[in-house]
């Protein structure tokens, strides 16, 4: 098989894989707990999309503790531009 053909086959596979990752990412959601809010003794959480978690990652809007994700800001307020502490 010619080199160019092999390249196209591998590239096509990687494109398919990338699209699959994007589709899974678009469909996936995460539970992000509010550290300050409890309802009937149970901690309240928001369900956010992978895109929202990506935005949170740009300013450390979420942190992980004891295997759970916790919000570091009030999600009910308008967010605006935020800087990352790292």
């Amino acid at each position: 098989m010619k080199r160019a053909t092999v390249e196209y086959i591998i590239a096509g596979t990687v494109v398919a894989m990338a699209i699959l990752l994007l589709v899974v990412g678009a469909l996936r959601t995460h539970q992000v707990y509010d550290p300050d809010t409890e309802e009937y003794g149970i901690q309240a959480f928001d369900r956010i999309s992978d895109a929202e978690l990506t935005i949170d990652a740009t300013f450390s809007g979420t942190k992980r503790r004891d295997g759970r994700l916790y919000s570091t800001y009030d999600r009910s307020e308008p967010r605006g531009k935020q800087a990352c502490p790292t």
Binding site: V15, D50, A51, L53, A57, L69, A83, T86
Partner: protein, 285 residues
């Protein structure tokens, strides 16, 4: 006799006009990349622009910068590693762009690459990084972007973001300027010291940060081998003059691949700048 002399004058004038056009075309070719880099520096870092922070743009530009439009994939990977969640969207985006255009963004869009290109123009003694240093970026990606944040959390002092020279320019320096010298703590001092070292290195060795340390380059580098973007080199006319090797900002040897009839961008270190194509004396044949 007069008619013959008129014709020869006309031909000479045409020849000189064609020569002038060639010179103008060559000048445009040589500055095309600089204009593109400048355009994207302004266009993608502007307060009037929209925010697409859910979208990772694989260039070294800190998303903490108030002017940045996109998320930096490295910052997102560091945080996801700390969360212990696989970053489907971020990896999918980088893979897709990488397989479509390889490291074209490194050569034409990355603002830190542009800065390196400009700094290398400073007349000082120059050297080329040894070839083995190009594997350093894979260690940076594996350890400082994935392993350390995974083990010690996204806020670890050993993540790449803590040392990132682009972040130092875009975020740390403006913060120090606004908050005053007294705000400099040990972590900030280390970040600024690394910035100074990196800038010193790139003045002496072309694109040395991209070659040895850039984790985005490490992610995109293997995709250069299969990307749909191919630099067309005049393989059938190659005389192995090595003009392309001398022009290559990465200190690579595209002539070897051109002689093997392989697109010259099929290499780990290639930033797809097209300088090998522009510098080829046989490109018009």
């Amino acid at each position: 006799m007069a008619a013959v002399s008129d014709v020869s004058l006309l031909l000479a004038a045409r020849h000189s006009r064609a020569g002038q056009l060639d010179t103008i075309k060559a000048t445009i070719d040589s500055y095309k990349r600089r204009f593109t880099q400048l355009f994207f520096l302004v266009a993608l870092h502007s307060s009037w622009g929209p925010e697409f922070k859910w979208l990772c743009n694989p260039i070294l530009s800190c998303h903490s910068c108030a002017l940045a439009w996109f998320a930096c994939p490295i910052g997102v990977y560091v945080h996801y590693a700390g969360y212990r969640i696989f970053p489907f969207l971020a990896v999918g985006m980088v893979l897709l762009l990488g397989v479509l255009i390889g490291r074209l963004l490194c050569g034409w869009v990355c603002p830190f690459g542009f800065l390196q290109d400009l700094l290398y123009k400073i007349p000082t003694p120059k050297f080329r990084m040894p070839p083995w240093t190009s594997y350093g970026k894979f260690a940076v990606l594996a350890l400082m972007v994935v392993a350390f944040p995974f083990l010690w959390g996204e806020m670890t002092q050993w993540s790449f973001c803590r040392f990132c020279p682009a972040s130092a320019i875009q975020v740390t320096i403006p913060n120090v300027v606004s908050a005053g010298i007294a705000s400099i703590d040990a972590a900030t001092a280390v970040k600024l010291a690394i910035l100074v070292l990196v800038l010193g290195l790139v003045i002496a060795s072309s694109r040395s940060f991209c070659k040895a340390f850039c984790p985005i380059g490490a992610m995109l580098a293997p995709l250069n081998y299969i990307s749909f973007w191919k630099i067309k080199a005049p393989t059938e006319h190659c005389t192995a003059c090595e003009a392309c090797n001398r022009r290559c900002p990465q200190g690579d040897t595209p002539s070897q691949r051109i002689l093997d009839s392989v697109p010259p961008n099929r290499a780990l270190d290639c930033i797809v700048c097209h300088d090998c194509q522009v510098s080829c004396p046989h490109k018009e044949e």
